[in-house]
């Protein structure tokens, strides 16, 4: 537990005044997926850490950006709560700030909402070195633009997160994990049929010729659904391995990540299908579908960035001091 906000703001103001650029980093766990950022000086946020406030009965936790995801998960578990979006901490690492900036949600996303959905507020520093608070600790809040959720997935391009308030959820009293062998096309059909039914699903994924599903809720509900969906018992660690990209296929076969309409028919490139069909981990990086990002590269890098996003970047960071390789116009590339 350490409050390094003052030092962080000092360093940002120094960078602003001296026109040096900063590459923002937490524990670096997402670099494998999103690449490493460029910038003159490293701004390490791991020293700004600790849970600032946790109110279980209000379903909200506020943690400093450098707090490890493990610490947050443990703190919540002690009170029977969790982060419903199952944000991944790759290789047992990862910070709250890092995972929010990366905008990554786990397998429960289509059923329990995204990490972005649970963000209630942020305290951040913009490129002018100003400390700003957007949103708050309450679930309903429509005062001002929703800058807090805009920060999710922006990879630090708009500012440096100091702390984040997240809505938390109760842990499920019972969980059941099941599997059934089937080809990808059948799996996608099953996923779509089940997703439209009032089933207590919290995971629906296909990999290596097997459809996996996870159900959760009261023990009686899990039991009744187990009977209804009829599959073999599955190892629950499958879901953490899927979340953390530690299934064998991720080390050898996967080259890209695609977010697609969930009913998109699978093709030979789909190695792993998650999110009830919406998230595809793919072999090639073919451009036959939109919304594809190469493993090891940020979707905010590269050419063809919408000028609106560049203007938004300028609205927060006019001197382009944060992660300058993100959201740049083609001309400067």
């Amino acid at each position: 537990m350490r409050d390094a906000a003052a030092q962080i703001i000092d360093r940002i103001q120094l960078a602003r005044d001296s026109r040096t650029t900063l590459r923002i980093a937490g524990q670096g766990s997402k670099a494998e997926l999103l690449g490493s950022r460029r910038g003159d000086v490293l701004l390490d946020l791991t020293s700004h850490c600790g849970v600032e406030q946790y109110r279980p009965e209000e379903l909200v936790i506020t943690a400093r950006a450098g707090t490890s995801l493990d610490e947050v998960n443990q703190t919540l578990a002690e009170k029977g709560q969790c982060l419903a979006a199952e944000p991944p901490g790759y290789k047992s690492r990862g910070t709250v700030g890092g995972v929010v900036a990366s905008g990554l949600s786990g397998p429960s996303r289509p059923f329990r909402g995204s990490l972005r959905d649970t963000v209630l507020g942020v305290v951040m520093v913009n490129g002018l070195g100003e400390r700003l608070k957007f949103g708050g600790e309450v679930f309903k809040n429509v005062a001002g633009f929703d800058v807090a959720r805009l920060m999710v997935g922006s990879e630090g391009a708009f500012g440096v997160l100091l702390s984040v308030s997240l809505r938390v959820a109760p842990l499920d009293p019972a969980i059941g994990c099941f599997r059934k062998a089937m080809p990808a096309s059948d799996a996608v059909s099953s996923m779509r049929a089940w997703a439209l039914k009032p089933l207590p699903l919290t995971g629906l994924a296909w990999v290596d010729g097997v459809l996996h599903w996870r159900i959760a809720g009261a023990p009686s509900v899990v039991e009744a659904t187990r009977v209804k969906l009829a599959g073999e018992e599955d190892d629950p660690t499958f879901w953490t391995a899927l979340r953390d990209r530690s299934l064998p296929c991720f080390s050898t076969l996967v080259n890209s990540r695609a977010l697609v309409p969930p009913s998109t028919p699978p093709d030979g490139d789909d190695v792993c299908i998650d999110w009830a069909g919406s998230l595809r981990w793919r072999r090639g990086d073919s451009t036959s579908i939109n919304n594809v990002s190469k493993i090891g590269e940020s979707p905010l890098c590269g050419s063809g960035v919408d000028p609106l996003l560049i203007r938004i970047k300028a609205a927060f960071d006019p001197g382009r001091i944060f992660n300058p390789d993100l959201l740049h116009a083609d001309i400067t590339a």
């Binding site: 309903k140 001002g144 633009f145 207590p200």
Partner: protein, 487 residues
């Protein structure tokens, strides 16, 4: 700004879809915040996306400000017209474009009514979850602009949680789609920024909404308590026991009495507080949850608990709450509905303040509390015909909202800022934060023609209104507006 030239161009292509005569414009003078009116310069009612884009182009070229409007049910004056601006109604873009069962979404135009979506997909066992009280009339475009909530948002979320794609236009005529049929977009996600942006960033042309499977079973419970504090404790216990009810709302004595007199829902008139709790899910789940909620309520002193398991009695239990606003409206010539949010643990403290203000101003207040999500709706009773009373009510309301901010809440939970809460916004945000909002708006609308003057107060306004409070417990130690002159 050349209004004349703009008028000629608009008439030429809109013909009868442009309203210029005072009688025709009258219904558009106000939205759900009826206390404040303004006659728009002109009202455009385009029928197609192309017509909308053409109207935008004309406004841009002639520098005419533009106020977008959905169904006009908003409660904060977000759609109040500007005297020398065009009121752009999107109500006629009202087609459901596609019900895409394979992807579990519906693509709709902005003028489609909220309830019409649920009605259209009910036969497939689906519904569109956000259900603001005005859902019979309000439109999805307006829902996006206000990030509308509803009775069931504790479990199912607000508009922002249920919209997968938004197609919008900026004034330069560029049409963008963020998100779509899939769950999330890759990279920057502008959807959340657009939800609740009150028409300041772009004009919504199409919305893709997520459809949710209808729950198999439902139960509505009513708990009667001898004090608001007991009911508040019961809420805390229900939530900390690991339950997320579909809806969880509280009413105080005055609200109970008003509702009961109005709709005869069967509410106990001797209760100081009522808790209405809706549970849904699989039949087994509802049954076990019901037992848990009942135990929580009893433990905190509920002296009467009613459970409705059939649709008719469920509707009856909700009827009182849903009619609470108009019911309270019968108690006095006028009422003013506030919409702050607070951390639930601070409820007792905030209610004490409200009750002290109520004595000070001599104006009664009824309380409806969306307890699950901390959204407080104090309804101040007054008589607008008494000179000075409206001003008194506004001051009273502002003080309630300041109190919400002081305990760590927000000045608007679901009604939006519009023009109504511009003053209280100065309490919640520092000058640096407000300037950041304006820079963000300028990234979308550099000429400040889209709904100018709404949602975000200018620094000048904040200083003039004396909004220079140092926030309690606020970090940073900066005094807001430190660089501005004081009056």
């Amino acid at each position: 700004m050349t209004l004349e030239a703009a008028r000629t161009e608009l008439i030429n292509f809109l013909g009868p879809d442009l309203i210029l005569d005072p009688a025709g414009k009258r219904p558009y003078e106000t939205d759900g915040l009826t206390a404040i009116r303004e006659e728009p310069w002109a009202v455009a009612l385009p029928r197609t996306r192309d017509a909308v884009l053409r109207a935008l182009d004309i406004c841009k070229r002639h520098q005419v400000p533009l106020v977008p409007r959905g169904a006009g049910t908003g409660l904060s004056g977000g759609a109040r017209p500007i005297k020398e601006g065009l009121l752009l109604s999107l109500a006629r873009l009202n087609r459901i474009l596609d019900i895409d069962l394979a992807n579990g979404v519906a693509r709709v135009e902005p003028g489609v009514r909220n309830l019409a979506i649920s009605e259209a997909v009910a036969k497939h066992g689906l519904f569109y979850a956000p259900d603001p009280s005005s859902q019979i009339a309000c439109s999805i475009g307006g829902n996006v602009a206000e990030n509308a909530g509803g009775v069931h948002c504790l479990k199912y979320g607000l508009t922002v949680h249920n919209v997968t794609g938004i197609t919008f236009a900026t004034l330069d005529g560029v049409v963008r789609t963020v998100g779509g049929l899939g769950t999330d977009p890759l990279g920057i996600d502008l959807r959340a920024l657009l939800c609740g942006s009150e028409g300041l960033l772009g004009i919504v042309l199409e919305v893709t909404v997520r459809l949710t499977p209808l729950p198999e079973n439902k139960a509505v419970m009513l708990g009667a308590f001898h004090s608001l504090a007991d009911a508040g404790n019961a809420v805390a216990h229900i939530i900390s026991s690991g339950l997320i009810p579909a809806g969880l709302e509280m009413m105080d004595r005055l609200a109970i009495k008003a509702a009961e007199d109005f709709v005869h829902a069967g509410y106990p008139l001797d209760a100081e507080a009522l808790l209405i709790c809706e549970l849904d899910g699989l039949a087994l789940e509802v049954e076990s949850d019901r037992e848990r909620v009942e135990a929580c309520m009893r433990a905190d002193g509920a002296y009467r608990i009613d459970v409705a398991t059939d649709a008719v009695s469920q509707q009856r239990l909700w009827a009182g709450r849903k009619a609470a606003f108009p019911a309270v409206g019968r108690l006095a010539p006028d009422y003013y509905c506030m919409d702050g949010t607070i951390p639930r643990v601070r409820l007792a403290e905030v209610l004490d303040h409200i009750s002290a203000f109520s004595k000070e101003y001599g104006l009664p207040v009824a309380i409806v509390f969306l307890a699950g999500d901390g959204n407080l709706h104090p309804l101040i009773l007054y008589d607008a015909n008494v000179p000075g009373e409206l001003e008194k009510v506004e001051e009273f309301g502002s003080r309630i909202l300041s109190q919400c901010v002081a305990v760590g809440g927000a000045v608007s939970g679901e009604h939006g800022v519009g023009i109504e809460k511009l003053g209280p916004m100065c309490d919640q945000f520092t000058s640096a934060e407000l300037e950041q909002f304006f820079r963000l708006k300028a990234a979308f609308d550099p000429e400040n023609l889209l709904n100018p003057g709404k949602a975000i107060p200018t620094l000048q306004r904040c200083v003039e209104a004396g909004g220079m409070h140092v926030h309690g417990g606020r970090e940073g130690g900066r005094e807001p507006f430190h660089h501005l002159e004081r009056f």
